[in-house]
């Protein structure tokens, strides 16, 4: 395919994408809002649950839990290191603590506290990184997270979950409480279109088929799942049948299921709003090492974020739209 043809194809995809995006049938929900409400539900059903907050409760939406259970809510101020070790101490008395901040601080600022205090002893602490990826578009590189999945995945004993929509956020919060051990959940600021249903069960480790197809499989994570669905719908107009699989459980992951989803496919594409180093691209490349199927990835090249006036501008700048996914699919099939 020539450069001109590629551009034309991308324009086509964009038009299709726009049409699909504006479909009224797709319900949008805010994952933070759903997370905050879910914490309250969990608080009612399980008295062990306590919530720690790094002064961002009206953004992470732990404010609902604070209203409902003031005695089980700990405002820890702007001190994520202390918040995380304090949570470790709470868990050592049998509590199930959820620590909350922006992902960049929850995971990055408190990395050593998570590492030694939580993950080595496999404590039952749930770390929730909010406003992840580029979703805090205005605040720039200091607040944007392209590295959290990488640094959480590398920790032995850690479970890493990246919801593709608000329904999954709710199910993951429940699953995190069921699971004994550290869990990291990555939550975006943006409203997200539903790509899963409310009643579909969520199982830690299990990749989920979102849309079936027969030529190529797109393994996607988080916000990029819906982008990949739009890409697949655009590609269908060109006669390319793309399967979309939501890899919302980055660790552990059912590798056999991933292989099953890729069986008979002519190409594999990964899509994530995260660095290409250490996230989904790394995971899938590792799982499919030595396999002949052409594989390529959409994600953040090895560079930092920056401020913008909208999330869409950053998606465009960093190559994280449905069009970019579609282009990558075409390129993989050309090989």
């Amino acid at each position: 395919m020539s450069a001109t043809q590629t551009v034309t194809a991308m324009q086509t995809a964009s038009a299709a994408e726009t049409a699909i995006r504006t479909q009224p049938a797709i319900r949008m929900q805010n994952p933070r809002e759903v997370y905050g409400r879910t914490l309250v539900e969990l608080g009612h059903s399980d008295p062990r649950i306590v919530v720690l907050e790094g002064d961002l409760g009206k953004s992470t939406m732990t404010c609902y839990f604070e209203q409902e259970f003031p005695d089980r809510f700990f405002e820890m101020g702007i001190g994520e290191a202390n918040m995380t070790s304090f949570a470790a101490g709470l868990s050592l008395t049998g509590k199930v603590p959820f620590t909350n901040s922006f992902a960049v601080f929850a995971a990055g600022r408190a990395y050593d506290q998570i590492r030694m205090g939580v993950c080595i002893p496999k404590l039952n602490v749930k770390i929730v990184g909010s406003s992840a990826g580029f979703s805090d578009f205005g605040d720039g590189s200091s607040h944007q997270t392209i590295d959290d999945v990488a640094i959480m995945r590398v920790l032995p004993n850690m479970t890493v979950l990246v919801p593709a929509d608000a329904n999954e956020v709710r199910k993951m919060a429940y699953a995190a409480v069921q699971h004994v051990g550290p869990v990291y959940i990555r939550i975006t600021r943006n409203d997200m279109p539903d790509v899963t249903s409310e009643d579909e069960p969520f199982v830690i480790g299990r990749p989920v088929l979102i849309r079936d197809g027969s030529d190529v499989v797109i393994f996607a994570m988080g916000q990029m799942v819906s982008e990949s669905v739009w890409a697949a719908e655009a590609l269908e107009l060109e006669g390319i049948s793309a399967r979309v699989v939501n890899v919302s459980s980055l660790k552990p992951v059912d590798e056999a299921a991933l292989h099953e989803y890729a069986r008979g496919m002519r190409g594999i594409v990964t899509a994530e709003e995260h660095s290409l180093i250490g996230g989904l691209a790394s995971l899938i490349s590792w799982v499919f090492r030595g396999r002949p199927t052409p594989l390529d990835s959409v994600g953040v090249e090895d560079r930092w974020g920056q401020s913008a006036h909208s999330y869409a501008e950053l998606q465009q700048e960093y190559g994280l739209t449905a069009s970019h996914v579609a282009a990558k699919v075409r390129a993989v099939l050309e090989r």
Binding site: R72, G79, A81, N82, T84, G89, L90, K95, Q113
Partner: protein, 320 residues
């Protein structure tokens, strides 16, 4: 459970604990002799006077908690736990060996009686705060004890935790500052002064006591006084000598994590009243089982303990 408030008996136990520390450091191996010995009297007072616990049930929910924020003093804690029979005493001689129960720094899931993982400085005090908050939430009367190093106060997290303890009025928390004055490469006051400590913790809203950290009656009084403070945590600034009890190591930064040769090792043991030629006594002096055996009137208690901890059962025909 046997407890004593007799300073002479506690001093004897502290010497025993220090002799175990020396044995654990061993010959021609690196080991944290200095900081373990500076904290030894405080740790002894906690385990043999103040704290409530049950070696047969290390996870008893109403126990008092003790954690070393300065995790590198683990040898002092291991020695006390072994004498209480939390684990077989011979484990002391396997410390830091590949696969050993006793790691270079404390690990909660490997060692009975250890309450948290520490070693990366500054975090233990935050964990102690979280434990104190969790215990209070459950309405338990358990207390949380923690030892902080003076060099450790360079870590900003110590001060984050100090805010939290005071804000949440954690009066079931008592922290000792093992103020031995030395960091790895010299005197704190010369290299990176973080004092004055009593003034700083008072300003943070703590109940502050200041003692000689080797004066056992003063330590015992501080432990009692700490319980009377309501609505605020207690900080006991304990002035100590690094390497205390091992003459050649006292006040010497090179024995922070230094190496003893054979002459050092034997000198150190002799100084603590132990003949280096004598074999290591593997019977824990204070284990619940040893105590139950001594008070031979409680057969059911003895069976209960033996069932709970078969690893501590006396050899057939043997007497504790």
């Amino acid at each position: 459970m046997r407890r004593t408030r007799d300073p002479a008996e506690l001093a004897r136990i502290a010497r025993l604990i220090r002799s175990h520390i020396v044995r654990m450091v061993g010959i021609d191996q690196k080991g944290h002799l200095g900081g373990s010995c500076s904290a030894a009297d405080i740790v002894t007072a906690l385990y043999f006077y103040k704290m409530r616990f049950d070696p047969a049930r290390p996870d008893w929910p109403d126990r008092d908690r003790f954690l070393l924020s300065k995790g590198h003093s683990a040898l002092a804690q291991y020695a006390c736990l072994a004498e209480w029979g939390f684990f077989p005493k011979r484990e002391l001689l396997r410390v830091k060996q590949l696969g050993a129960m006793l790691q270079g720094h404390p690990e909660v899931d490997r060692t009975p009686g250890i309450e948290a993982n520490t070693g990366s400085l500054g975090q233990g005090i935050s964990m102690a705060c979280g434990m104190a908050a969790g215990l209070r939430l459950d309405g338990r009367t358990s207390r949380v004890y923690c030892i902080l190093g003076d060099g450790e106060t360079c870590e900003g997290q110590v001060w984050e935790a100090s805010h939290a303890a005071s804000f949440y009025k954690l009066d079931n928390l008592c922290v000792f500052l093992d103020n031995n004055g030395l960091m790895t490469n010299g005197k704190l006051t010369d290299r990176y002064n973080t004092g004055p400590y009593p003034e700083k913790w008072r300003a943070f809203g703590w109940h502050v006591l200041e003692i000689d950290g080797h004066d056992l009656p003063a330590i015992l009084d501080a432990l009692d006084t700490a319980e009377t403070a309501k609505g605020r945590p207690t900080m006991v600034v304990a002035h100590t000598v690094k390497g205390k009890g091992v003459a050649f190591a006292e006040g010497r930064p090179e024995f922070h994590n230094g190496i003893m040769n054979r002459a050092h090792y034997e000198d150190a043991l002799r100084g603590l009243g132990v003949d280096p030629a004598e074999p290591f006594n593997e019977q824990p002096e204070f284990s619940a089982l040893a105590i139950a055996r001594r008070g031979s009137d409680s057969a059911p208690e003895r069976s209960r303990l033996e069932a709970a901890r078969p690893d501590l059962r006396a050899p057939a025909g043997g007497a504790a």
